[in-house]
């Protein structure tokens, strides 16, 4: 605790650059994942295609994608001897964002599916009557369900900001380049500097709380209107 306080107050420049990189990578990843995952999840909720059940099971299962595996896949993709090697993205923040997007998208999609399905259960016939096709109803459902969807976003953010397995493989935890909070914590742990590692962990959680407080405002019950 003390240590973390001292670290924060001393406003150690290096620490801050690490914190900022963590936020940059994870927030970017979550935004991209949301842009992909929310429509996907909503489509799964309203779609009436065959194999829908299977797709839902799959997306739910993908919430269990191991970060290390995702890291490896992205590594093999971006490696110089991999298909996208030419892009020279390995060991860059971009690579870390890609890995986290893969990791977080299923989480946001699966949770969105749940929320949207519950809402659709109420809206479906009304929208259909208004001539809104299943697919056209997606934006409506996402919009009217936004308060509940905030939690899905936060779950995705939690996963992104906390994971280390994927970013360390594709980022390489290179000092000043791809070192983020979690990789630093892992490094300090392996150096046996447990106190420092915990201090950094505390900072990470404090940051998570701040981000949640910010995003959370959107999803607070006070904004709901009780049913007449």
């Amino acid at each position: 605790m003390l240590l973390s306080l001292r670290l924060i107050i001393s406003g150690d420049a290096e620490l801050w650059s690490i914190v900022l990189l963590s936020l940059r990578v994870s927030l970017t990843a979550v935004i991209i994942a949301a842009v992909i995952g929310m429509p996907t999840g909503a489509a799964l909720a309203v779609g009436r295609f065959s194999g829908r059940r299977a797709a839902i099971v799959l997306i739910n299962a993908l919430m269990g994608l191991p970060p290390v595996v995702v890291g490896l896949l992205v590594y093999l993709l971006l490696s110089n001897s991999g298909p996208l090697g030419v892009l020279q993205l390995l060991y860059t923040p971009t690579a870390m964002i890609i890995a986290q997007v893969v990791l977080v998208t299923p989480i946001i999609a699966a949770l969105t599916r749940q929320v949207v399905e519950d809402l659709d259960c109420e809206y479906a016939e009304q929208l259909r009557s208004m001539g809104v096709s299943r697919i056209a109803s997606v934006p409506t459902l996402l919009w009217d369900g936004r308060l509940s969807l905030v939690t899905a976003l936060l779950a995705g953010f939690g996963r992104a900001i906390a994971e280390v397995g994927a970013v360390i493989i594709v980022g390489g935890n290179i000092n000043h380049v791809t070192r983020v909070m979690t990789t630093t914590i892992a490094l300090e742990t392996s150096k046996g500097n447990l106190a420092l590692a915990l201090a950094l962990g505390t900072i990470l959680i404090v940051i998570a709380i701040l981000v949640n407080a910010a995003l959370g405002i959107l999803g607070t019950p006070s904004q709901r209107i009780a049913h007449a």
Binding site: E122, Y123, E125, Q126, R128, S129, M130, G131, V132, S133, T140, D144, I225, A226, H227, A228
Partner: protein, 263 residues
């Protein structure tokens, strides 16, 4: 909800229709129901061999609770798939084009989690209305439903009657040619009920086909051109209003009108 408004509105509803749904060559009427059955598990909830609803004065559907009235409306409006049989509009089964030409007010209104205004506007947008025209129409509709004063309020927080009025104006927003109404005045006060009845009457006169469920016998008498009487999932009789009310063919209908029929 001033009365002057209504006359004006009634035309406008159709104006709305005319303007954006250029009358197709063939009409979506008559509605022909053929060998229609809706079954859940072992329970046959609706079973109708033949039923034809022709253009003209409103068709009022009467019947005890649980007779299958709402299911029939949902089947005709294509909200649920029949187990067997089909519903034809003109000579076509339901399709996107036909759907845009009809609308329905649910027994239990479903309002979007938005403002009153946004609810009506959504319906207009859904029917592809844009810009100035849409804004103008929006105001007319809010006026027609007496909702202008509370248009910024969350639709969820409206009173029961207000929600029902919202549902109605939302349904007629794009000027449908065919309108299904499921007990649209069940929670309206006497004044509002009269107002809506007057509207329905005008809609009908200006060529909109109304298919309406009600439990208010008086209302049925006032509005009905013909009556369809349902009982236990079947259409027991279909007769011109006058006939139905002075000498119903079936015993069930007699008892029902007298309030003697027990579900």
């Amino acid at each position: 909800m001033r009365d002057v408004a209504t006359a004006f509105d009634a035309e406008n509803v159709l104006a709305g229709a005319a303007s954006h749904t250029p009358r197709q060559a063939q009409s979506i009427l008559p509605i022909s129901v053929r060998d229609l059955a809706y079954t859940v598990g072992a329970k046959q909830l609706v079973k109708i061999d033949r039923l034809t609803l022709t253009p003209g004065a409103p068709t009022i559907i009467l019947g005890p609770n649980g007779a299958g009235k709402s299911l029939l409306l949902r089947l005709m409006h294509g909200l649920i798939e029949p187990t067997t049989g089909e519903v034809l509009f003109g000579h076509e089964p339901m399709n996107a084009r036909i759907r845009r030409r009809q609308a329905m007010v649910f027994q239990r209104p479903v309002v979007l989690r938005r403002s009153v205004r946004a609810n009506v506007d959504y319906a207009l947008a859904a029917h592809g209305m844009r810009g100035r025209k849409r804004r103008k129409r929006l105001e007319e509709l809010l006026e027609m439903g007496g909702l202008a004063p509370m248009m910024r309020q969350a639709a969820r927080s409206l009173s029961g009657g207000e929600q029902q009025r919202l549902a109605l104006v939302r349904a007629v927003a794009a000027g449908p040619e065919l309108l299904f109404l499921d007990e649209p005045t069940s929670s309206l006060d006497p004044g509002a009920t009269q107002h809506i009845e007057a509207l329905v009457h005008r809609f009908a006169e200006s060529g909109m086909k109304i298919v309406m469920v009600t439990h208010d016998i008086g209302q049925a008498r006032r509005l009905a051109g013909e009556v369809v009487f349902m009982h236990r999932g079947h259409v027991v009789e279909q007769s011109p209003a006058a006939e139905f009310f002075d000498k119903p063919k079936s015993q069930a209908a007699c008892d029902f009108v007298a309030g003697r029929l027990l579900a």
